[in-house]
């Protein structure tokens, strides 16, 4: 049973959980969202700061399990500094991995630390945890993009 657990709780995940990257809420930002997982109550408040088509910062305050926290941390590593379009492509790749029920082979070149979540896909109840931060990021980003003249809302 430990092997099964280890497949889920990769060292990388536990590391990110204990030491989350880019945690905390920062300014400036163009959109802030609050997402919850109604099932278990995990919550994330997340802000994005774009400059043109570039993701300059993603800051967040997350309450949740190791998987959801680590996933948010990994997500920020993967999207900050990228062009929005590229970041969205990474998001797609991560989504495909999570929804693949364990059949999708992760691409380390794209997902980097995100490949540690491959095992999560086999635990349907945890997929929502792993996606919480990503969904919040995507939502916030779309809000900024929808807004033709992005304004500071702080």
């Amino acid at each position: 049973m430990s092997a099964e657990l280890d497949a889920l709780y990769q060292e990388i995940i536990l590391d990110h959980y204990k030491n989350p990257h880019h945690a905390g809420l920062r300014e400036p930002y163009e959109a802030e969202v609050h997402h919850v997982n109604p099932t278990c109550g995990d919550e994330v408040t997340l802000r994005v700061h774009l400059d043109g088509d570039r993701v300059v910062d993603v800051s967040y305050d997350a309450l949740g399990c190791s998987i959801s926290q680590a996933s948010a941390s990994v997500m920020t590593d993967l999207v900050i500094g990228r062009r929005v379009e590229e970041a969205l492509a990474v998001h797609e790749e991560f989504l495909a991995l999570m929804q693949g029920k364990g059949t999708v082979e992760p691409d380390e070149d794209v997902l980097e630390d995100g490949i540690a979540f491959a095992g999560v896909a086999k635990f349907p109840a945890r997929v929502k945890c792993a996606l919480l931060g990503w969904m919040a990021w995507k939502d916030a980003t779309s809000q900024v993009l929808r807004n033709d003249n992005p304004q500071e809302t702080a």
Binding site: V36, P38, T39, C40, G41, E43, P124, A125, R126
Partner: protein, 420 residues
């Protein structure tokens, strides 16, 4: 007996339904002709429920353990199957209720609280028909009474069809909702729902279709029906009691306020205020009918495996045969359309000189189960000047021999009561 359209493997199908092997009334075989009231259940439906209760029972969503995951998959899997059964564009548009009545009340009730374009109030009109089941009348009476809106309805022609002559007077700019049955549970009439829906769409009214009698008998395509909502009930599609289905168009479901409040339908709750989950969960407060969904999933799979087109053909063949047999009984009058092609498999009739309750009683002593009374359609009975009727209704397991038994039983009834 070979009648074109009958299901080819009828005897094999009957073997799937354990109750059909029962004897009643002192050893006589059961002749079950009350399927419009509730259908019998195939073994595979019963077995799926037993397997769930004995091996996978847990609460759903909220439970994260192995059993919880299995139960959730079984429940949400059933939603997928039901969505496929009615060709719903999205599984999220399939809301599980406790029966068709609750599904119809859900719509009427949330409209009572809706704000904005969906709000119903004074000056607005709700249109139903005179052939509705009480479950598609009373919710709208309550909505009208509570909001000050006016209830109007389509009358019926003498041969038991909707009187569409005044449609343009009835469905107008004032109309907010048109709710009608697809197939009448009393007259058997199949209504032109798509045409009426098209007219309702023109004036911007919502269209609610009560498919309680249609879903068991006809291939249903919710989008093609033109409706915004389609309701039906599990126990009439060879599924269990305790579950019904409301399909609704995503935009409308999303725009409606919640129905019942509680667990599962929330996004977050504080003492001061709460926010709602997305559809379909917004409308599913509390622990849903889990084992019932499992049974319903197996039921629609069963019907799809036999084939809804084939079932429809069978119903038509049996109904045609039944109409012929019934009309051979002196003093018998069939209510509703007399041709099988334009009707479903419920045939209500009068037998001169014998009250329906007495007809049913005599038949029952011969093992034949029919329904007597108003069939929850008092206004339709009143329209035809009768207080009650006897109704036989067939389903995919009904044989011509059972119809023969009925007809013979009716002859006997007449002689027993010394009429004619």
């Amino acid at each position: 007996m070979t009648i074109p359209g009958l299901l080819p493997e009828l005897e094999v199908i009957r073997k799937d339904f354990p109750i059909l092997e029962r004897t009643v009334a002192g050893g006589q075989p059961l002749v079950y002709l009350d399927s419009a009231n509730t259908s019998q259940k195939p073994q595979c439906v019963i077995d799926s429920m037993v397997d769930h209760l004995e091996r996978h029972n847990a609460n759903i969503s909220r439970a994260m353990h192995a059993l919880g995951a299995e139960a959730t998959e079984a429940f949400e899997g059933a939603r997928d199957r039901v969505a496929a059964f009615v060709k719903a564009p999205s599984r999220d548009e399939v809301v599980f209720t406790k029966n068709a009545s609750e599904a119809l009340n859900l719509v009427a009730n949330t409209l009572a609280w809706a704000k904005g374009p969906l709000a119903v109030g004074e000056g607005d009109e709700i249109v139903i028909t005179e052939m509705e089941h009480h479950s598609n009348i009373v919710p709208w009476q309550l909505l009208a009474e509570r909001t000050g809106a006016t209830l109007r309805w389509f009358g019926l022609t003498d041969d038991g069809r909707l009187d569409l002559s005044g449609v343009d007077d009835l469905i107008t700019e004032r109309t907010k909702v048109v709710s009608l049955t697809w197939v009448s549970n009393m007259l058997g009439t199949i209504n032109p729902v798509a045409d009426i829906a098209a007219r309702a769409r023109e004036v911007g009214a919502l269209v609610v279709v009560d498919a309680s009698q249609a879903a068991p008998q006809l291939p249903v395509d919710v989008v093609a029906s033109g409706a915004d909502f389609v309701a039906f009930t599990g126990h009439k599609v060879v599924g269990p009691t305790g579950i019904g289905v409301l399909w609704g168009r995503r935009e409308v479901l999303e725009a409606l306020p919640p129905f019942l409040g509680g667990g599962e339908m929330i996004a977050t709750v504080s003492m001061e205020r709460s926010t709602w989950a997305g559809i379909p969960h917004k409308f599913e407060a509390g622990t849903p009918p889990i084992v019932e969904a499992v049974g319903l999933g197996a039921a629609v799979d069963y019907l799809d495996a036999v084939g809804m087109e084939a079932i429809h053909a069978h119903e038509q063949a049996i109904t045609g045969y039944a109409l012929e047999g019934l009309l051979s009984v002196p003093g018998l009058t069939v209510l509703g359309p007399q041709d099988a092609a334009s009707r479903g498999g419920a045939v209500a009739f009068e037998l001169a000189g014998v009250h329906p309750h007495d007809v049913a009683q005599v038949l029952d002593t011969r093992g034949i189960a029919v329904r007597a009374g108003h069939h929850c359609a008092k206004p339709a009975h009143a329209r035809f000047g009768v207080q009650s009727s006897t109704r036989m209704s067939s389903y995919l397991y009904t044989t011509p021999a059972e119809i023969d038994a009925l007809v013979e039983g009716l002859h006997y009834t007449r002689s027993y009561f010394k009429v004619g």
